[in-house]
Amino acid sequence: MGGGGRTIPALLVTLAVLLAVHPMLPGWAVNMVGLSLANGLAVLGLLVIMRAGLVSFGHGLYFGLGSYGAAMAATFLGVTDAFLMIAIGMASAALVAFVLGFLMARYRGIFFALLNLAFSMLLYGLLVNSAVLGSTDGFSMPIPSYLGYAPVDATSRVSFLLYALICVLAFAAALVVHRYLQSTMGYIGEGIRENEVRVEYLGASVRRAIHIKYVIAAAITGLGGVLTVLLIGHVTPEDTVYWTKSGELVFVAILSGTGSVAAPFLGSMLFELVRTYALQYAPDLWQMLLGATLLAVIMFLPGGLWSVVRLARRKA
């Protein structure tokens, strides 16, 4: 767990830089940074369970619960406050994870991965068949207010306020997960990945630990979902709970590596950049580019992009 002591200062500096450069960034860049951070949060959630050796192929479920939770509260319950939407979105994801966790904690490996996929497809089916939620088209939500303050410049969705909120929440979540991974419960995850028998014979419950990690992972991924919908203002099943979204989250997690809480954000940023440019300049090669990247990472950088950062640090 080397280099853990430098993570928090590095994150703080990054947060300050992101906030400081906002006035200089063009609209599309602000949007892209915001989306990358929101997506990075979703991947950060995945990192929590991946550190315990568990991969979910259906984490779009919790991304979607965050998105739909917040958007439904805004559109159907008349919730206007962004903070309340965040709380509702995260709580929806965490609550469902708490219930499903009793089942999930019994499974490992491919069964765990696909069981998550199964539940995400169930939610997808529900959403697609729900006319009041706009079926496959989804629905739009109004621009939120912030503790009673409503941004006057409504021409752009992405006010500095929302941008700053996303930056701060991404930082806060990274900090919380970082502390968590350094705690005993965090280390138990490493233990579960390496040897469950020993964890039980040390007197800790593997199932309980997995259940707890699963709920934390869902809440953080849900937060990513809420922030994404706040940025975009529109929610569809395909962009949230569909298996391609879940696959994208796993893709970015593997691309990033699970060595640090900063990795998911770095990976997301890169993924978003490449996607934007590739879709613009080489739309037909986009999928091939993704495949080649994944291949290269698995073969040459099994620790993900983060291992490059670690290597650079060691040389420095």
Binding site: Y180, T184, G186, I188, E190, G191, R193, N195, E200, Y201
Partner: protein
């Protein structure tokens, strides 16, 4: 004499194989019991039943006169009965130091933390002490997966001892260790266990090791205890010599 660990009429079958046949044994505080027997005699099954990994078909297991037959590994561990394994059960990708830290963190009086770092000065200091006590400090920062077998075995036992058990069951602590290293390793282990005033049961194939460290020996054959008493008597018993000691000598040669 009060008993710490007692079994009454333990039976266990795996299909046609009788792994435990009416096993009754009572062990007092701080006894050091050597368990001997040919392969398949039911030694590991006995340890697995006592530590909650296997449920006996019938019979009872008592810890300080309290029945624990139905408890699982975690509950048995929490009560104070810990074990080591024939194949060390450790975290291969973590360093020796981190292996110990995880064990210390789970056993800590503060409970399992979510926010406070595991790597506190107090736990770090205790981990360093353990490394020294078990003479594995030279491997401190190495990943456990690449260690020599002896160091892995010692770490496995050191982790089982974190959390200060009352009873420790060692499943073949010297298996896979060369003959000339065995005694030095057992010296290290037994010195720590004696200082910790632990009741010890250890499974062992090497009769020299048994004779040197056990204060009492229980000989297993076909799932039953065929002799139980002081080492000289049991190791000299004619039935034990033919079913256990003889084959072991043959096995070593």
């Amino acid at each position: 004499m009060s008993t710490v660990l007692e079994t009454r009429g333990l039976n266990k079958r795996f299909g046609a194989v009788i792994a435990a046949a009416d096993i009754a044994i009572a062990i007092g505080p701080q006894e050091v019991v050597g368990i001997i027997g040919a392969n398949g005699a039911g030694k590991t099954t006995f340890i697995n039943m006592v530590t909650g990994y296997l449920k006996p078909d019938s019979g009872a297991i008592l810890y300080r006169d309290r029945e624990i037959t139905a408890l699982g590994p975690r509950a048995v561990t929490r009560l104070g009965i810990h074990r080591s394994f024939q194949i060390p059960q450790i975290f291969p990708e973590l360093s020796v130091f981190d292996n110990l830290l995880v064990a210390l963190g789970i056993a800590a009086e503060t409970g399992i933390t979510f926010w406070r770092p595991l790597r506190t000065p107090a736990l770090t200091e205790r981990a360093e002490e353990i490394l020294e006590r078990y003479r594995i400090d030279e491997y401190r920062d190495q990943a456990v997966g690449v260690l020599p077998q002896g160091a892995r075995k010692l770490l496995d036992i050191a982790m089982a001892m974190v959390g200060a058990p009352t009873v420790l069951l060692l499943d073949e602590p010297t298996s896979g260790i060369s003959a000339d290293e065995k005694m030095a390793m057992m010296d290290t282990i037994m010195a720590v266990l004696a200082a910790a005033e632990v009741t010890v049961l250890f499974v062992e194939h090497d009769m020299e090791v048994v004779a040197r460290y056990a204060r009492r020996v229980a000989a297993f054959a076909d799932g039953a205890i065929i002799a139980d008493g002081d080492p000289d008597t049991v190791l000299g018993d004619s039935e034990v010599r033919t079913t256990v000691v003889g084959p072991e000598l043959h096995r070593r040669g």
